[in-house]
């Protein structure tokens, strides 16, 4: 009934000892044959290591091997370059006596998400797609394997959204991803609309789009997609994170705050003003929000040459920051240094924090009404109020009020799969350009790239394109 083959990690994501990757469909066996190498008699490798990656695959009896249904085979999964990903147990189940009533292959690999993800990616590279949520069960039903009550539960799965906080933060992240993908789609659509107008209304004097422009554009998008794809391999939520700079006059508690945020002692903390001479960068993930925190030298008017460099660097870093945490010392009066910083960061996204709330308050911010109202009172020393900062960062991020200059991570295999396909289409665009193809051929793959990206954000883009053509070009009798 279904002719495409689907695959997914079938086990619950977490730190289980074993993960299972399930492949279902006509192509399952073929894929398994391509990626599995049975462990040979002459080899005894228990734990493939990095340095064994280049081992000669001819040592393995891969050629004359064939899968025996319902039999657990022991061996390795290799990627396209014949490099070993993991040692596995693999089982092939022949249709129709399987869960989905299709050919099914299940691969048991080591626990942890990395190995399972890599295997899934390899499987996808061999011509199947990621299963949608509940799709194995759906096939089981549609192929007559389970009954209606069970199937209705599947419909619930298809329609439901879980409410675990983890999911929600992931959804927020996906929202941010959507934003970026949407902006790429928008750019592609601009180009496409111009191409389509040239094709559908050739007699009008709209500017013909140049091949050079399409090439530059496509190259640029490939770079952008590459960056998104590469983030998928880092295992962090963000490659770069929100660039956050902690500013404040010397000895206001910047490094202490940073250490709190990092949960470890990375920057030197002293009582002597001006000890943090240079800037230090650290990555941290706070409630699903990735931060790249930059600690700076205390900003103070100084004649000390070394410290001056640090101060300038600090203000310079603030220029590039997505978010500034401005620290005041509530036990001291507002000073010239404070005002200087305030002036410098007036156009930035800022979280204002009054440190040393455990001491007697001397700070008076009444001249800065808004800041006085917004400021969070904390005491790093007494570990008080710090959660408020974290909440504030997290809410600003998810409300989208912080603009992130760097890229998001893709930790969804389906997204990665589509990004790779979109990139492939753009490479086809470049190939066509190289071969002097006319614009209407180039357009085919450009449109395809847009369709793939549209699948990530879940919308059909063709109607939007029509609107764009009419809105942006002057055509007609």
């Amino acid at each position: 009934m279904f002719t495409d083959t689907i695959a997914a990690i079938a086990t619950f994501p977490g730190n289980a000892g074993v993960n299972i990757i399930r492949i279902s469909g006509d192509g399952a066996l073929k894929i398994a044959e391509k990626i599995f190498i049975k462990k040979g008699k002459n080899t005894s490798i228990d734990h493939p290591q990095e340095d064994q990656e280049d081992m000669d695959i001819n040592n393995y009896c891969g050629d004359d091997f064939s899968f025996k249904p319902r039999y657990l085979h022991y061996g390795y999964i290799v990627d396209k370059n014949h490099k070993i990903i993991d040692e596995v147990l693999i089982c092939y189940m022949k249709a129709p006596n399987t869960y989905t009533r299709e050919d099914v292959v299940e691969i048991n690999c080591h626990g942890g998400i990395i190995s399972a993800k890599k295997i899934l990616e390899t499987v996808l590279e061999h011509g199947c797609r990621t299963a949608e949520r509940g799709e194995f069960t759906k096939r089981a039903f549609l192929n007559g394997r389970i009954d209606l009550t069970q199937a209705e539960a599947v419909i619930d799965i298809i329609n439901s959204k879980t409410d675990s906080s983890h999911e929600i933060s992931m959804n927020h992240l996906e929202g941010r991803l959507s934003k970026q993908i949407n902006s790429i789609i928008e750019e592609i659509m601009d180009i496409l609309a111009n191409i389509e107008v040239n094709i559908d209304f050739p007699e009008y004097d709209e500017d013909e789009i140049t091949i050079g422009r399409v090439r530059d554009f496509s190259e640029n998008i490939v770079v952008q997609l590459d960056r998104l794809i590469s983030t998928a391999d880092t295992g962090k939520i963000f490659k770069e994170g929100i660039k956050t700079v902690i500013l404040g006059k010397p000895n206001v508690g910047k490094s202490s705050l940073m250490n709190f945020l990092l949960n470890e002692n990375r920057a030197i903390v002293t009582e002597v003003p001006g000890t943090t001479r240079d800037t230090i960068e650290e990555y941290v993930n706070i409630k699903g929000v990735p931060l790249r925190i930059v600690d700076t030298a205390g900003v103070r008017e100084t004649e000390d040459r070394i410290e001056k460099i640090g101060v300038e660097k600090a203000l310079q870093k603030a220029d590039e920051a997505d978010l500034v945490i401005m620290l005041f010392d509530s036990s001291r009066e507002l000073e010239y240094d404070d005002e200087k910083i305030l002036e410098y960061i007036k156009d930035k996204r800022v979280i204002y924090v009054n440190n040393k709330a455990d001491l007697e308050t001397k700070l008076n911010l009444s001249r800065y009404g808004n800041i006085e109202k917004e400021a969070i009172n904390i005491s790093v020393l007494e570990n008080h109020g710090l959660e408020d900062i974290i909440d504030k960062i997290s809410s600003m991020f998810f409300e989208g009020s912080i603009n992130v200059s760097d890229d998001l991570i893709i930790n969804n295999v389906r997204h990665k799969d589509l990004l790779i396909k979109a990139k492939g289409s753009l490479e086809d665009v470049l190939y066509s350009i190289k071969n002097n193809m006319t614009i209407d051929f180039i357009e085919i793959d450009l449109k395809q790239a847009m369709e793939y990206l549209g699948l990530i954000v879940g919308k059909s883009v063709s109607d939007d394109l029509m609107d764009k053509i009419f809105n942006e070009f002057c055509i007609g009798k």
Binding site: T3, D4, K138, F141, L142, G144, L148, A151, E152, V154, I155, I158, N159, E196, I199, D200, F201, P202, E203, Y204, D205, N435, N436, M437, T438, I439, D440, F441, I444, S462, D463, L465, M466, I469, F470, N471, C474, I475, G476, K477
Partner: protein
Amino acid sequence: MENIVRDFLAESADVVVIGAGHAGCEASLASARLGMNTIVLTMSLDSIAMMPCNPNIGGTAKGHLVREIDALGGEMALNIDKTMIQCKMLNSSKGPAVHSLRAQADKRKYHTEMKRVLEGQENLKIIQSEVISLKVLEDGSFNVYTRLGAYYNARAVIVTTGTYLKGRIYIGELNYSSGPDGLAPANELSHSLMDLGIQLRKFKTGTPARIHSDSINYDKMEVQSGDEEIIPFSFMTDKIDINQINCYITYTTEETHNIIRRNLDRSPLYEGVIKSIGPRYCPSIEDKVVKFSDKERHQLFIEPEGLDTKERYIQGMSSSLPYEVQIPMYKSMIGLENAQIMRPAYAIEYDCIDPTQLKLNLELLSIKNLFFAGQVNGSSGYEEAAAQGLMAGINAVMSLKGKAPLVLDRSEAYIGVLIDDLITKGTNEPYRMMTSRAEYRLLLRQDNADMRLTEKGYETGLVTEERYQRFINKKQLIENEIERLKNKKITPKAEVNEALERIGSVSLKMPASLYELLKRVELNYENTLCLDEGRPVLKKEIKDYVETVIKYEGYISKQINQVEQFKKLENRKIPGDIDYNKVGSLRLEARQKLEKIRPDSIGQASRISGVSPADINVLMIYLMTYNNKKGE
């Protein structure tokens, strides 16, 4: 004194077609040619196949439609081949998929020739009469009543009323009830259709002024001439040898724009008098000046209306400004300083139906054997109308004969895209065909319309034996030549490599077939003649076709794969008697949309706006149990 007309049954027929515009002509010809006793009723015998707007046939995507009509056995291509006065292949610098033919027509001749074809058609009666109402009888047949009291009984009716239904013309502050181009409107039929439960709505369109040719200074304009060698529309036409007439390009000026801006409050489009929706691709000059205010000038085309007339059509200048404003406006354009307006520009508003009330065979969902085609379905353009007329004509006959309808899908023809778009998605503006609407553009070329559709037309019975033999011969020649090129081995001999270098290609290291060699960018069928001893003499259309198939093989096979994916969902049919209220878990919006459109297949359902992938899943699961239960 009251006029009392006594109704009388004038005649009975298998099929009655209401209207003889481009849709009505194709519908009535198809019906009559398929052996049905057919009557076509028209408001005026002088307006058969009339072109009330632009004097041309074809253009991007529209040219594709004309060729598809031809391949299926329709008339439009043959008629324009007989009456064209200029012809151009548009987009010839781009790839073969977007090459599109466009011809300037001699309007009067186009009408006369088409009328002649209708008059000579066996089984077809042409009658001048205004249809005022339509009744469905208990036996499922129809009575079609006319103003003169005569009524006609028919087993099937095809409505092709164009822009006549409650037509209203707008010129500035003035508006009055009228059909296009001063012809009478059809006011009563609208009510009758509403009484049948059919939902109507209002669309609008417009046309520019016609200017006397002697008042135009062509010296100030760019000449646009036709192609040196004319490629005919019809696969049945061998050669067209005519003296072509020029078109001209000119522009608006700053003064034109000032006049328009000063008088915007007198344009019913801007004063909100016309509330109906006009086509975005065909905006009035007021629209263009306001919306694209940064453009210093707008391009215009001066097109002849025919050989025996001095009237010139000013493409790009449709307007609903008052006549008083139109005069200085047209005179402000380059080369039109002395322009003498023969017919002013006007906007026209008309009733049409919401096409989502139809099935893919163009039959009304709610009334069997009542078909709609053309502009009354919310489309725009002669070609779009003709394509629908042809399909409605064929399908009315199929229905009466109890045969399966002829429905083309999106991967088979532009006609399929057109009808699927209208019926599945509906339209909020007069719908124009564009190549960008077709997903599988590379497969739906104008050069292979016969390869795609002649067979289907032959099965239907509309394609003549002569046309079919011609098609078979052409197909054979193409296949033979491709096979020959595949078997033609080129070896890396010195003289071969010399020849290759002479053409600007790189030398050969391994033997290769000429088929493979032709994929090189710099090589083509013509310049490889020196490598191809004993090459047969073939017609240009065959050579071009072979070259396209070889050169773009990779792209074509990519699209064929996409079509295979597409077909999977198209082939999953939804039973006609499905009750969407019984499908649990469907969202309300999806349920309503599905109930309204009643798609034939899962594929069609997935294209309905407001039906989500989750809804499709739910539907598939329901269908599975539904089919299982039926099987029990």
